[in-house]
Amino acid sequence: MNETVYKLRPSDYWRIGEHESWFADMAAKGLHLKKLGLQFVKFVKGEGKEMRYRIDVSIEKKITPEQIQMYAESGWDYVTSNKYFHVYSSPVERNAPEIHTDPAEQSYTLKELDKKLALNAGFVAIALILMISMLFAIWFLDETPTFILVQGIAIQQTILAIFIGYTAYTSLQAAISIRALRKDLINGIPIDHRAPWKKYYQLNSIIAFLFTVVVGLSAILPIVQLVKGETKTLPEASLDLPIVRLAQVEQNPALVRGEPFYMSDNVDWGNRYTYDWSPFAPIQYESDENGVVPGQMWEDGSGEYSPSIHTRVYQLSIPSMADNLISDLIKRYNYEYSDEDFVKTKHPTFDLLIVHEEEAMKEVFASKGKAVIHVRYYGYANINTVIENIENKIKLIIE
């Protein structure tokens, strides 16, 4: 059994002359072409030999036995095919005549391929435009790109779009190059069978490697998010988590937890915390807590006093994103309130502190270093109590 060697193609599949000269150079080193794959080429190790290789294009994926025989009678042995590209070889000493002796005639063999590639490029371009407009909507429709980035929900689609973008670029390049080659042939300029292939080799390998890594990682990303993310019912006891607790804000021993109003997967969604992970915010918590003080009523008499608190916590990997994240959080969750209702306040602990008070509703956005906390509280406790609690909790995630 002869040893086989796989090599990455040195350049794009449609660079005919480059491939022909590469095969010849490999054969001289003792690597004889066996099979042509989409990205990889299989060689069989043997004695080094001076060989000529020619790539013949036909729109038929299968070439006829007649053609193979005709070429063989002229000294060209069929080696392998990939899609529309068929490779023939001939030892130099056999001195076989060129397969194509008339460039103008050879240009006819490219006609169908030319059409097909042009059509292809058109399709991929349309797919790309659709993909980009979809992504644009995800990132910018709410005008909160930092929030989308931190949540990590669109990173994979974006990488995929870049990948499709690259595919569109190469298929456009293929269409343009084959058309140019066809024009050259019509004008009597033959293919350069000794075209240098080395200049593309490095670039092509780097691009192939980068794409494998990036696309591979982006495929893992949603799985990591799925595995790492979890939602649990908040225990009533205090936790070592950077979440602002209702009991700490209310400071009322009479406060009890209300009846669960929505249970799913054994989680009381009115009293829960969710942990999430994303590359730009490796620690994310979101929590809800609902309580009730039996016997005490809301001042407007609408029912039993039942304060609630909602917390969003982010530890960012890039601290400078904090201000933008806060402005995006305000934009995304401000409901009907206008920007003027959100008041920037000076505070010795926080880098940025924005408060919003509306009768019983108190909202605080605070950042310190790479930590961002957003609390929305409904109840009668003072907003300063909320801020003090954030001060205590933010310490947990500054580092």
């Binding site: 020619r54 013949d56 036995p65 007649e66 053609q67 025989q69 005709m70 070429y71 009678e73 002229s74 060209w76 005549p97 060129e98 397969i99 194509h100 002796t101 008339d102 103008a104 005639e105 050879q106 006819y108 063999t109 006609k111």
Partner: protein, 106 residues
């Protein structure tokens, strides 16, 4: 591209010429070299391309196909096209005689 009666490529002209006698593959290549007095050596790729195209255009047809080897022959249409092309080439040569007269005048 269907043949529209315009000028033929050199390859078409010689294949038609050689197919005045039905022939196949490798021998056809030899015949082309022969009828062109060794001036035209046609590669198998060019020959195969011309054969498929001219068969599609009805200028040549299959005389015999034993599965392994196909023998081609010229059709009446092909013969007519060849004659027209021959006439055109002859006229071109005649027009070119002024070049020789010009030499004499110098």
């Amino acid at each position: 591209m269907a043949y529209n009666g315009g000028p033929m490529t050199e390859a078409m002209y010689y294949v038609l010429l050689a197919l005045m006698h039905p022939n196949h593959g490798y021998q056809l290549m030899q015949a082309i070299t022969e009828v062109s007095n060794g001036r035209v050596i046609m590669g198998p790729g060019t020959l195969y391309g011309v054969l498929t195209r001219m068969q599609k255009d009805g200028l040549i047809s299959l005389a015999e196909d034993d599965g392994r080897r196909k023998t081609y022959q010229i059709t009446p249409e092909g013969e007519q096209a060849l004659l027209i092309e021959y006439g055109r080439l002859k006229a071109m040569i005649q027009d070119g005689t002024i070049l020789e007269e010009g030499d004499e005048n110098e």
